[in-house]
Symmetry: C2
Subunit: 414 residues, 2 copies
């Protein structure tokens, strides 16, 4: 039987899990990624607040896949997908495929206000996280040097927009950076006097969590020194300020964790239905309408699954979709005449940390909070990280960094 060529665009959770699912004898897999690493996005906020180093959460794709001789990794950028000719145009190559898997992920979205991008900092990639980290650490350095108390106060005002898990984790982590980690390091300023604002347009933080955990989260953040603004919408972002429905805040550091949209490549797909955020409206089996050899997985996907569950843009969903697609392709290419199965999402629950000693978690109908939730969070991340070959070493290093506050991660470089 002829070798089937599978082309996977994107080396995130979906693309990587998919690439691992093909037997060596029948499938030739090419994985394309813009960078050379797989990023553990749930811990990006840790890098952004100098709690972990970049190398603790990113792994070279080649390392992960090096023992899979039928997988070739290419570092290149996707420009355009030609569904008719079955070709993908990259920056430096043009590739053909028998099967295509689009797993390009999401980027920061501004609900139409793309002009706000220049005045805010997103948190979707390693360079996003490093940019935040550098800006925050520099702000404290400049505040230490500043002679004007108003300037000092402005430099030490940080704003996080978006009260979902990303925003909550960022705000809690920033508060601890200021009041625990940097304490004692400065002589002219008191870092714990930094003002951290968390702005959420809805009535509660963590909209997808049960009410008792939402309230707990709000109280914990406030006790960490975060000023929580609920029912507050951002109306304008400019150079050095944010305007909400309630007030104007002077700040150079506005972190946007309020929305994402699909990779812009989806808009090059002729005739394919997209939702408002650019996500592909896939068939129940995750393939594109009218193109059964093309699939989509992860944050680019818009789907209500076979059980009526709206599939969220979270890493477990991305991994499940990636694995599901690999199985579908392998079964079909095997020559079986069985119809394809529809995808169903298995919700393993959600969790969010609030600083380093507390968290909230919901699994099944069970709610957990505080230290117990935090331990569960640690355990789940252990499983994630251990799941990859040779990750015991990475996990130990990660725990070590975490426990020691990884002070080294506070290096500012140009």
């Amino acid at each position: 039987m002829k070798q089937q060529r599978v082309l996977i665009l994107g080396g995130g959770f979906a693309g990587l899990e998919c690439a691992k699912g093909f037997p060596e004898d029948r499938f030739e897999v090419t994985l394309v990624d813009r960078w050379n690493h797989h990023l553990f996005q749930p811990l990006l906020y840790q890098v952004a607040t100098a709690g972990l180093a970049m190398t603790d959460i990113a792994q070279p794709l080649r390392s992960i896949l090096s023992h899979r001789k039928n997988v070739t990794t290419l570092m290149d950028e996707v420009r355009q997908i030609d569904l008719v000719a079955k070709k993908v145009h990259l920056k430096d190559h043009v590739l053909d495929y028998d099967y295509l898997v689009i797993a390009l992920g999401a980027k920061t979205g501004y609900f139409g206000h793309n002009e706000w991008a220049q005045h805010t900092l997103g948190l979707k990639s390693l360079d996003d996280a490093m940019a935040i980290r550098k800006k925050v650490l520099l702000a404290f350095e400049h505040a230490e040097s500043a002679n004007d108390p108003q300037e000092t106060a402005r430099l030490m005002t940080l704003v996080v927009v978006g009260g979902g898990p990303t925003g909550v984790e960022m705000a809690g982590s920033l508060a601890e950076l200021a009041s625990v980690v940097l304490k004692g390091d400065f002589r002219r300023i008191d870092p714990s006097s930094a003002k951290i604002h968390l702005i959420e347009s809805g009535p509660k933080l963590l909209p997808s969590f049960p009410a008792p955990l939402q309230d707990y989260t709000c109280r914990r953040l406030e006790s960490l020194g975060v000023t929580v603004h609920l029912d507050t919408r951002v109306t304008e972002v400019g150079a050095g300020y944010v305007v909400t429905s309630k007030e104007r805040i002077e700040s150079d550091i506005v972190i946007w964790a309020a929305g994402v949209e699909a990779s812009e490549v989806t808009r090059t797909l002729a005739g394919v239905p997209l939702d408002r955020g650019g996500r592909i409206q896939v068939q129940p089996d995750l393939s594109l309408p009218a193109h059964p050899e093309v699939f989509a997985a992860g944050d680019v996907v818009s789907l209500t699954d076979a059980k009526g569950v709206r599939v969220p843009g979270v890493s477990p969903a991305a991994m499940q979709m990636g694995r599901f697609i690999a199985k579908t392709i392998v079964n079909e290419a095997g020559g079986g005449a069985t119809a394809r199965e529809p995808f169903t999402y298995f919700d393993k629950g959600s969790m969010a940390t609030i600083g380093r000693s507390a968290a909230v978690a919901t699994v099944g109908g069970m709610h957990l909070r505080g230290l117990l939730a935090w331990l569960m969070w640690l355990f789940v991340h252990l499983l994630f990280l251990m799941g990859m070959r040779n990750r015991a070493t990475v996990f130990l290093q990660w725990v070590w960094s975490y426990v020691t506050w990884q002070r080294g991660a506070r290096i500012i470089q140009p």
Copy 2:
């Protein structure tokens, strides 16, 4: 007694050791550094070849000094030193002093050919190391994608200029990166076929080492796959090539480890004698001629000490000078009428690694090579790192990174 204000310019080995030497009750110390971290420069080549992460070798100055309440750290750049008015002009401040310590270090030097700087990569700072690392990793990625065998060969040609310890360590480490670490990760290229050239103008590598160790080093490097060029001078460096006295080599990656000169700030010192590399020709007590309240320490210094020994630009010398100056100032400010002592350098020996399993070391009259030398190298670095407060955790992390090849350090980011 009035508090004496000590201003230290530079947070490297010399400046840091100096800053730690002042009792809290009588001295107010300000340490100025362009970045916020102390850099363990001897291991920079490891970061450059993805063997260690940036955070393994850099520590925030504030962390190191946080318990010393009389030391203020300022992140700023030195623009000009006014010895007459006893003021130092920084980018954002002007500071007075009672005592000044110039410990600004060295930068890459091109023996007058400053136009070569744009076509070469130095190795004196974290961003130098990160730039080399990124360029080298990208070269392999592009070689994997390239369709032209000549282009592939060119992309995988790396040149190191300078056969002293820095160049030897870089070349050995690059050879291992190509032939050990990246092996198996690529499908179209064989990374171990990369050509690594080490160019030295003199007749031997490691000019300051005894002859048997020089020859051993050359043989070990060659067995690692490095092409060693002795008695070869670089005559021209351009975009994509290097011309030596013997041949022309096509390469985009030319690492310059052949020379250093003092920080350019020394040239703003009116009336102070400098050598050809801009180093300050200090008095035997490390002070500036005609300015007994101003000292210099570390790589900015040009000195033959009281025993007739030419003080080398190495970290132990910098640390000894920094400590010596602190002691001198403390004694003098204590009101003692004793004359100042002259500085003498205690040579603890030299070492250089050749890849990860061998090294050469010379201590006293003793020569060591191979595994024994490598273990000594490890032990000495342990002492260095442990000497700083709370460095046990850093050391363990460092050993762990080293032993596991720190694959995470191979992340390419923009």
